[in-house]
Amino acid sequence: MTWHRHVFETMGTIVSLSCDAAAEPDLVVSRVRDTFAHFDDVFSLYKPESELSRIGSNRMSLVDASDEVRDVYSEAIEWRAATNGEFSPHRPDGVIDLSGIVKALAMNRAGEQLNFAGAKDWCLNVGGDVLVSGLEGSSEPWNIGITDPLDRGTLITSARLAAPRTACATSGSSERGDHIWTAGATPTQFIQATVIANDIITADVLATAIIAGGAAALDRICGTWDVDAMTTDLDGNFRMTPGFAKIPAAV
């Protein structure tokens, strides 16, 4: 089976898609592109005429917003409650900012589009967050390298993603950490947190919550959710759940 790889820019970052060619490649790629473009058009605060920008600048009230925006806001509020406020859809100035969840929602939708189009083996990497289906080369579990936050040209380790653990999200306090609002005055204890989960939304939100909430959040989340996690602190020390350590790394 032939493979194709497609790279494009959206949401201020880069999408790297590897996919089998079971489905019509042009059709698959256009559907994935359209999915990200749609979420960006509606939710981007970098686009002055997006619905969320109009809400943020008081040109539109939330009650007049589309069902889609209200549904996403509602989901974000639920995540805020589930994470003791470590994940929040509000900036410190009160403006609604859904960028902490929208990329994951778009990835989730893009995954549905890929499956619907007939693709079986694919890997979708959006700015360092990864969602996979099936196998690489139709033979091996997808092997995902985890970047060293202290030296981005090297990897700390790698993790194989296979059903049901198909999603791997990483948050950091150094690059693009602008959507993470620390809860209270707690200093950030981790400079990078990677969460592997059964869906990309859970992985992304919880990685963000761990960066915001530090060691207390890490302990609570690992004890509460069916996820695996790995963190790097300022001194370059790691913490890992037993499950993360058991995920076989490539050697």
């Binding site: 880069i14 990897l155 790698s158 948050s171 050697v251």
Partner: protein, 97 residues
């Protein structure tokens, strides 16, 4: 130095934590960590049980190393479009791996 690589299970000393007394055991195979277990003393006669999912400290040198040539994709804190250019993912995409 002798080139013999360590193999076996190594149990650390017990530390007092807010979860109670905790202990970490690592299983080493040929000098590499194959598994990490967290043990906790219970109140029932000091018997140890494995806690299913608690992130424990691991030394940098003890983490399983990964070779970038073997990975399909690279995860990391969200990079910008500019940051992508210098990322390992960019190198992978260029190589068409």
């Amino acid at each position: 130095m002798a080139a013999t690589k360590a193999t076996g299970t190594y149990v650390g000393s017990t530390a007092q934590t807010r979860f109670g007394p905790m202990q970490v055991a690592i299983v080493v195979s040929a000098g590499k960590i194959a598994n990490v277990k967290t043990l906790q003393e219970t109140n029932q006669g000091g018997r140890s049980v494995e806690i299913s999912n608690y992130a424990v400290p691991i030394l940098r040198k003890e983490v399983l190393a990964a070779q970038s040539a073997n990975v399909s994709s690279v995860g990391g804190a969200t990079y910008t479009s500019d940051g992508y250019l210098s990322s390992l993912q960019s190198a992978l995409d260029k190589a068409g791996l």
